[in-house]
């Protein structure tokens, strides 16, 4: 089964303000985007498990206009606070790389 890192044209993370981190999975073909969405792999239960976060604060948005799926969760540590590992939040997507899509 192909992995997300192979299917996506863009796979990134960034702060959405200092309290949240947002992940974008962007695809270059409509069929690939629809395959990922239809597979149901990206769901709040999985995200909560991968990122040890509260499902209540997980937001997943399908955005066909840009063939993208967006995931937003609270940052573990507020941006720049003690123990922050990534001030810009730009390198936090590792748990998504190897997700397998049917």
């Amino acid at each position: 089964m192909p992995k997300l890192i192979d299917l996506a044209k863009v796979l990134r993370s960034k702060n959405a303000g200092p309290l949240y981190v947002t992940f974008d999975l962007m695809f270059d073909k409509k069929e690939t985007y629809e395959r990922v969405v239809k597979s149901g792999v990206i769901n709040s239960k999985l995200i909560a498990k991968l990122f040890k976060s509260d499902e209540k604060y997980t937001e997943i948005v399908d955005y066909p206009a840009a063939l993208s799926v967006k995931i937003t969760i609270p940052r573990k540590v507020v941006g720049g606070d003690l123990g922050d590992r990534d001030v810009y939040g730009a390198q936090q997507y590792a748990p998504l790389l190897d997700l397998e899509i049917k």
Partner: protein, 450 residues
């Protein structure tokens, strides 16, 4: 109306040719966003810019004189990177220097955005402060520890400044799109289109392919749509790149919240006007029912010292948890009753293990032949942080861990000195919304002659 953005952040640069192309189209307004909170709370707290003086000066001295010559209003938002008083002052000095060198004389409106602690305290006690997420609360103690609060101005104070009729507007902390939205809103353009266009161009040419924050961009506002025109022939704004931009740094591409309202982009249409110019329509604006200002606060929570070193020993890498646990315990014991472990924080960042992702790291096994190690101490004073870090560093260098064979030293220091005093450590004490009657009123405008 033609709205031109110089780049995504003042000081990030832009090609002179792009500026000239934009000027040739006679823009109605030229703006630049000087700030961001992405680099973290340090710059707000310490009162310094995260972009360099020479870079900011370069960006201004090429464009500002041209704008003044042609009577095009020139707006700088979130002056000095964070938009507080020292940042405003710093940016003003650069402008004054350019004016002296180029013999320019004009009036400038400075819009102040730093709020006194007592104002915030009053609002907190009145129950007027709302959180923006689940993990940051604002307490009285946070207010005590805060070095600086700024409020983010919306379009209203900028419109007030435009009405005065000055050459340059130097604004403190501003909503990024408000910088570009002010003039078109004043002139009656559709707010849905205005806010969406402004939200896109505030990052410069990032909405183009190839995208960058270091290039100029022009938004053409019409009655029922807007166009996005790159000013560099190597870039194209396509329907996809324009649609894709609302994903950037936002939790939701359909609904984008500003303190003064919400952009509803659920019906927005993205089309190709030409193969390099995108056309956007259908964007809506829903004004907020309750007026709010977004506030940011930075509090100093100590002073930091770090030591950076590499480790190339497979036996030590295998025992790295034992090593860090020992170093921590030895340091606590070493300082005994003189310094309590609750008076400082000690962190170990292990690059090659889990420094970047922490417990989000899916790969549990270390497969690297070396580790990059940062020992970090944050304490009440710089001297205390230095002392504690020094003990931790020397202990880690010499600790005889289980199975050790390299008995001459465990760490490869790249530098002499091995320890680096980093100065004050700041945290965001506030990232909240303040409810009030008039969201424009706290932002005072001062007109100065340059």
């Amino acid at each position: 109306m033609k709205v031109m953005a110089l780049n995504g952040i003042l000081g990030y640069g832009y090609p002179l040719a792009s500026l000239e192309k934009g000027l040739a189209e006679n823009p109605d307004i030229i703006g630049t966003d000087a700030g961001s909170k992405d680099p973290g709370p340090y710059y707000l707290g310490a009162g310094v810019s995260f972009t360099s003086r020479s870079a900011v000066k370069r960006d201004l001295e090429l464009s500002m004189p041209e704008a003044l010559k042609r009577n095009i209003p020139f707006i700088i938002g979130t002056a000095g990177g964070s938009g507080g008083e020292p940042h405003l002052k710093w940016n003003r000095e650069i402008i004054q220097e350019i004016a002296r060198e180029k013999n320019l004389h004009f009036h400038m409106a400075m819009i102040h955005a730093e709020f006194p602690k007592e104002y915030i305290r009053k609002k907190l006690r009145g129950g007027k402060i709302k959180p923006m997420g689940p993990n940051l609360a604002l307490t009285e103690r946070d207010i005590d520890e805060t070095v600086r609060f700024v409020g983010q101005m919306g379009s209203e104070p900028l419109i007030r400044a435009l009405n005065i009729g000055v050459g340059v507007i130097l604004a403190g902390r501003s909503s990024d799109p408000a910088i570009y939205a002010a003039l078109p809103l004043m002139k009656g353009y559709d707010p849905g289109l205005v806010w969406h266009a402004s939200k896109i161009i505030e990052c410069g040419a990032l909405c183009a392919i190839p995208g960058t924050t270091s290039d100029c961009i022009m938004a053409h506002l019409e009655k029922n749509y807007f166009l996005l025109e790159p000013l560099n022939p190597i870039r194209k704004c396509t329907p996809m790149s324009a649609a894709g931009h609302t994903l950037y740094e936002q939790p939701n591409p359909y609904y984008i919240y500003e303190p003064e309202g919400m952009m509803d982009l659920s019906q927005s249409k993205y089309e190709a006007y030409t193969d390099s110019i995108a056309k956007v329509s259908g964007s809506k604006w829903i004004p907020a029912r309750q007026q709010t200002i977004k506030i940011e606060g930075s509090a100093r929570y100590g002073y930091r010292t770090i030591s950076i070193a590499g480790c190339r020993d497979p036996l030590m890498i295998e025992e790295i948890d034992e090593v860090t646990n020992y170093v921590r315990q030895f340091t606590v014991d070493n300082f005994g009753s003189r310094i309590s472990p609750t008076d400082y924080h000690m962190l170990f960042r292990l690059y090659g293990k889990d420094a970047v992702e922490g417990d989000w790291e899916p790969q549990k096994k270390i497969t690297s032949q070396e580790l990059g190690i940062i020992i970090e101490v944050v304490a009440k004073t710089q001297e205390m942080a230095d002392d504690i870090c020094a003990v931790a560093r020397s202990t880690m260098l010499h600790y005889h861990y289980t199975g050790r064979k390299a008995t001459a030293g465990n760490l490869a220091f790249p530098y002499s000195p091995s320890d680096i005093s980093m100065g004050p450590a700041y945290r965001f004490s506030a990232y909240h919304l303040v409810e009030l009657e008039d969201a424009s009123e706290p932002f005072k405008i001062e007109v100065v002659k340059v």
